[in-house]
Symmetry: C4
């Protein structure tokens, strides 16, 4: 099957005018899990993206070291120590959309956190698996739950998850492995691809000005925010991938490097454009 | 009695040019109480709103975990650990306007804090009861002090406080229960209503772009700031409700979602407009 | 002697073009001391003002609780725990300009800090005494060191320091007491006055939009920054007082309330105007 | 040999359009080490500069006291306690470009950190030695590793490092000592000079509005970011020196003092201009 470009048509179809009589519950509960003592910035950036992407209620589970910095940037987030596995389980179960992985790390604590999350998710929940969570699943051969799974690997992480070396990552092989794995794969690279069942979509945009730490965390947070709001999970993911690079492309007209948080701050303006009737 | 719209006439009447020879004491002492370890962002957002709304002196009592993030955002606030019940009582007694509830939580500590506050308030003080404080009053059937009480429930909190299920929340029932309870009720919903004695006011504005965590905390902080400055408590509340959604409506012309702190930062510009002679 | 208005002529005379071959040492070492656990915001705001006012090197001694919030806002400042009295003494002695008092508090620790500072200053140093430091000097009848002293009381603090009740604060009485005390008095009120020897200056500007917590801390920091840079201490103080309210007046054209940190961020643009040749 | 001015030609040659098919690894791993309990702001400012200068991945090793403030400003950075010498060694070895010194201090801990770094670097790595690290090397007569060394002393630090008093710092003496030391010397002063082998370059720009604490830390971070991205180390250093003062000169048209972080935020826009084809 031919690779399809992601187009603005998908975004106009997905990002609709919000109904007047709605409230924060209408736009979903997003729970983000990650940020150990060294990679706290990753979960801060993912959380920032989820909130600017319009999530109704956002809770972040992280190392307690990161709580103050997160709140200093984003008081809109609720925060919980991710070592409290009981509360982690409880909050995971109550979420509409879960993002696990940004800055999570790969030590024993990280593994316990991931296992608790995977054990708690159910079939109606969206679960975005990013960064260290992908590595942990690959290295510990963890079994995956029944849920609306989304994986957001870059090529090296995809290699570890799929077993395909980068040179083996052909469209046919990628599709085959993605189907085995189940869910949606966001394969991050120059012209990011989104794989779902037999379909492959390619993102037309993207710029080397995005080549800086935290871009992936930001995308993961956007995917969390969009999947919480928009029922069609594939379209939610495609829209997040598209807008993420679209904002970067626009900022890169004037900037040699674009910082991840600069992208997040622009999200509401871009979403607004797609929600308006076309003129 | 018919439901009256909140109009700009009330705001022009309320938000007057400040007298030249005045000082910070003229604009009141606001004390905000809330923010446990998980919901610290709520009290940060409420405090932010109170300060931008023009409160003369603002003190926040919260879990010590939240002090650094609050100061990193708003050095204008003074801060105290809310576990120090003696100081909490003392500061409560010295306030003109008290806001209790944003992110307070509902555990035993939260209850002690609330009981200390309620025991310390007196008849001339404005007391805004929000969020968890409403739930604690409902669940523990706490008796209410003689004071200028303002409740800011959303529909589910109003159900818990009034005993009226959402379908029972008719104008007649709401008015009856509000009068039993005493004080001013801000019933937050699509077209928020303000109930006072036999009167019901309805806010014409509001947008689903506001449907994100922290909007209510921000409104509570604005109510605290306005009731500290403007003697007519009903008009102060009506003005806060109106400007809160007016700013959001304006920002939503260009944004799919509006963050609570974005609203707070705009408050001084909007208040200024209402304080000017009409041309 | 007649009260003289502070005019722009004094500012043009004081804020001169910086010499090309200069370095941060040229613009002075400012040391600010204050900020206990409750009033940490005060020293953050004073430090912010000193840095934006152009101090060459700025060190803040404060309760360790405030260090992270200060750095999150102003990484330009160096920070030290003010309980380390040995280091406090050492840094005080090395400073060109010292600001003591914003948020210092009045407990025993605060008193030890103040006494250490007063014991360490010498005749060539500028010492701005603000807020709680004024109260401590008044209540403990502390003797004042030989130094370039500047006091920045509001009317109630001036009452405690001078013994003059507000109704007794006539020009003649104020001048007499100011001369007994020595140094420059900045008497903060509607149309702030600056008293020095037999002279009294009055600030033409000022707006009730400034009537919010932290304005005085910001002025104290500006005085610290200006006295470190400009040799004529009286003119430095007059310039700080004038620009502080000038910025507020300009911002207040559009804002009902002006926050102290908004003023600080504007200082470099205003100073620049006065440093240019007049056209 | 004549002193050559740094010109825009070097910048256009150095800061090239990024290749489309690149990723964060392409732009290097920068590791910054510094920031003790008192000088934490220095490493925050250096880190900020490295990230805005386009480093692919940035890790900061510092006193744990500084982690939250750093993350509150720059979630893009990874952070590690610099007392963990094993991890410090490991991260140093994995870096493309190392910056050591901003706010490091000169106590025993600082010395251990510096010695660990110097013992770990290898010939292909860029190592920028700034501030306290220069002083420690001078005072402990530490031997220097084989690496691409860059020293960023101001005149007093250069005196301590080279043994040349400021009056002895003639072009001939400076060049002789720089060649003995090896590497590139950035001699910070009015019209900063860059010494490399027999060549001396002079920066045409610079303004006394830069005479404020943190300017040098910002330059060190920029040098780290540029040397990680651009293979020609001399040109990378020259470009960083030029843009740093160019931004300050531009901002100083309107500002009496320019803060270091204001410079960092402008870097991407300036780099972009040099990466475009000349019209």
């Amino acid at each position: 099957m031919a690779i399809q470009p992601i187009t603005e048509a998908i975004l106009r179809q997905t990002i609709r005018k919000r109904p007047a009589d709605s409230h924060k519950g209408t736009y979903g509960r997003v729970v983000l899990i990650g940020g150990n003592a060294r990679y706290g910035g990753a979960i801060i950036m993912a959380t920032t993206a989820a909130i600017y992407a319009g999530a109704g209620l956002t809770t972040t589970l992280t190392d307690p070291l990161n709580i103050t910095a997160l709140h200093a940037r984003m008081p809109e987030a609720m925060v919980v120590d991710f070592h409290d596995l009981k509360l982690l389980r409880e909050l995971t179960e109550a979420a509409n959309s879960i993002v696990i992985g940004p800055g999570l790390g790969t030590d024993d604590d990280s593994l316990s956190v991931l296992q608790t999350v995977l054990a708690g998710v159910s079939v109606d929940q969206s679960v975005t698996i990013d960064g260290s969570a992908i590595d942990l699943i690959a290295s510990h051969d963890l079994s995956l739950p029944q849920a609306k799974l989304i994986f957001t690997p870059h090529e090296m992480e995809w290699q570890r998850l799929s077993g395909l070396s980068i040179s083996q990552q052909t469209p046919a092989n990628n599709t085959r492995l993605a189907q085995q794995l189940g869910g949606i794969i966001v394969l991050k690279k120059h012209h990011t691809q989104v794989l779902f069942e037999e379909q492959t979509f390619e993102n037309p945009g993207g710029t080397p000005a995005m080549a800086t730490g935290g871009m992936g965390d930001t995308l993961a947070g956007m995917v969390g925010g969009f999947t919480a709001q928009f029922a069609n999970q594939l379209n939610a993911v495609l829209s997040a991938v598209f807008i993420h690079s679209q904002i970067a492309d626009d900022l890169a007209h004037n900037a040699y490097v674009v910082l991840p948080t600069q992208i997040s701050e622009e999200i509401p303006w871009y979403m607004k454009q797609y929600s308006l009737p076309q003129s």
